[in-house]
Amino acid sequence: MIRRAERIGFLALPGLSFLAIIYALPLFMLLLKSFQIDGQFSILEYVTFFSDNYSMSVLWRTLRVAFLTTGLALLIAYPTAIIMARAKGIWLSVFLVAMVLPMSVGVIVKAFAWSILFRTRGVLNDTLMSLGLTEAPIRMLFTETALIIGAANVFLPFMVLPIYTVLRQMDSRLPEATVSLGATPVFRFMNVTLPLSLPGVVAGCAFTFSLAISMYVIPSLIVGERQQTLSMLTARSFLYLRNEALGATISSILLIIAISVVLGSSWLASRLGARQ
């Protein structure tokens, strides 16, 4: 007889087979292709990629943008999540709607909204100039800074929601217990709130980083072709250069980064959560 836990495992079958056919199989084929030249096993494509200055600069830019986007999103998301975890009733609903609603507005719409904000004679520059903070308009659109700000904005909910969830699950008596043991608010934050929220922070960073490293639409719209990222390079290899081997190689590199982030973060989260 099959044990109960194993039988319940069958419920995961449809989901698993869906993922296997639609997701894992094509990616595996891609991975295979990146190691093949004329049907022979070869790592030549990788050697070419890693020894090419241009490809390496794109790789670094992609990683840098993803890191900074994740950092900026975390900086904004953490206080937001704390306030949300304390909010009650109507305010909580307002916050949740504010988090979820923008997700339903397409990235393209947002990108054009930003261009109104960021462009040379845009709202932001006009304000800065009228305040006398700057003489001439600052070039903001088509810069990496604009890309990071825009990406952090789009991915913010993926950072806020996991942190909010763990903070919300925290026993509401813990802060009071901490205070009655003589802890200052700063000590309480450093020793109770922060460590208990870390699993949420790890999850949020993993989501945001994975999304940021593979984003395509946002950089295409904000910085355009001049500053390529790995995803844009992949698309170009497949669509314009018709160089499937190069495309497969870059995709595989992206895939490997994404898998390491996911595995690393779940290892970290389970280590952090093990004692709880």
Binding site: E176, A177, T178, S180, G182
Partner: protein, 361 residues
């Protein structure tokens, strides 16, 4: 009515809560609350759900700000001192242990928060854990502990900082009956040995009787009576206290005769004489503790039809037929299986054992 003992404690007021009032969103929870506790006293706040026990405790701890009034501790006003500088430890109902820390780290938390030299932690933690017999669990994560063990850790964590006052909000309510009784005895012994001043919140009268020197019976944001367990049981200050602490036979009626410190009350179960001075025509509530009643004629005697006779081992409980709000209850020592429902018996007791209160209308 104010219990005389509340005022007598004035000479020994270590904790002094004066005229404290608190309202939540315009709904008053308590007003003009006076509450005094002597050094080293173990005191319980006893009362029905929602009467304001937790609120009073939180005001003393500084976790809730009072709207009016003053809290003094050891002669110092602490009303505006933030909770982390009051040195008052709280044991919460849910224990509120830190899930990311081990037992030893939980216990050491207060020392770390106060910046106590790290070298001093080890021996102090070991001592605190030994006190609650949890030394073997020092390195365990707290999630792996049973309810009773978690409670011990919570107590050790609260005591390690040598608090000037220990507050416990229903500390035993999450434990099963047997463990609860063990823990009550254990904790009482422990607190006594350290001459700790402690306030327990509870709505379990047996628990209050068991652990405390004095009990403050609360009702709707007021202290009805603040006295020793035996005083509370023998001389309840109001019908509410009589009903809340222990069981009783209870009769309502009207005073028909008065004089020489005695009144005669007409009730649905006959005439009853009680000590007291109430004007004729006053509506009163009469009470008698069940173990003071015998099934034979006494100074007061009423005839009762038995509804149930419950043999409880050490005692037999007789329930007589009565209409609300009257209640007829008698407890006889030992097992009396000869008494059967439907039988008519006499309930007799002495005039001096008769409690009488003006009925609240």
């Amino acid at each position: 009515m104010k219990d005389p003992e509340t005022r007598d404690m004035g000479s020994n007021k270590y904790l002094d809560v004066t005229a404290v009032g608190k309202a939540f969103k315009g709904t008053p929870v308590m007003s003009d609350m006076d509450f005094r506790v002597g050094r080293g006293e173990l005191v319980s706040l006893l009362g029905p759900s929602g009467c304001g026990k937790t609120t009073l405790l939180r005001i003393i701890a500084g976790l809730t700000a009072a709207d009016t009034g003053e809290v003094m501790l050891d002669g110092r006003a602490i009303t505006s001192v933030p909770p982390h500088r009051r040195n008052i430890s709280v044991v919460f109902q849910s224990y509120a242990l830190f899930p990311h820390l081990t037992v030893a780290e939980n216990v050491a938390f207060g020392l770390r928060a106060r910046g106590v030299n790290k070298a001093a932690h080890g021996p102090k933690v070991a001592e605190a854990l030994a006190l609650v017999r949890m030394s073997d669990f020092a390195e365990r994560p707290v999630a792996a502990l049973s309810g009773g063990q978690q409670q011990r850790v919570a107590v050790a964590r609260a005591l390690i900082v040598d608090p000037v006052l220990l507050l416990l909000d229903e500390p035993f309510s999450a434990l099963d009956r047997k463990l609860r009784e063990t823990m009550q005895v254990e904790l009482k012994t422990l607190l006594r040995a350290r001459n700790m001043t402690a306030i327990f919140v509870t709505h379990d009268q047996d628990e209050a009787m068991g652990v405390s020197d004095r009990i403050a019976v609360m009702s709707a944001g007021k202290i009805e009576q603040f006295a020793s367990p035996s005083e509370l049981y023998a001389r309840p200050a109001s019908a509410f206290v009589m009903d809340f602490v222990g069981l009783s036979t209870r009769l309502t009626g009207k005073v028909v005769e008065t004089g020489a410190g005695r009144i005669t009350v007409h009730t649905a179960h006959g005439s009853v004489t009680a000590p007291g001075d109430f004007a004729a025509g006053t509506k009163v509530t009469i009470g008698v503790r069940p173990e003071l009643i015998r099934t034979e004629p006494g100074e007061n005697t009423i005839s009762v039809t038995l509804e149930d006779a419950m043999v409880l081992g050490s005692k037999t409980q007789l329930h007589g037929r009565a209409e609300d709000p009257n209640r007829l209850l008698c407890e006889l020592p030992g097992m009396r299986s000869s008494l059967t429902p439907g039988e008519t018996v006499n309930f007799g007791w002495s005039i001096a054992d008769t409690l009488v209160y003006e009925a609240s209308t």
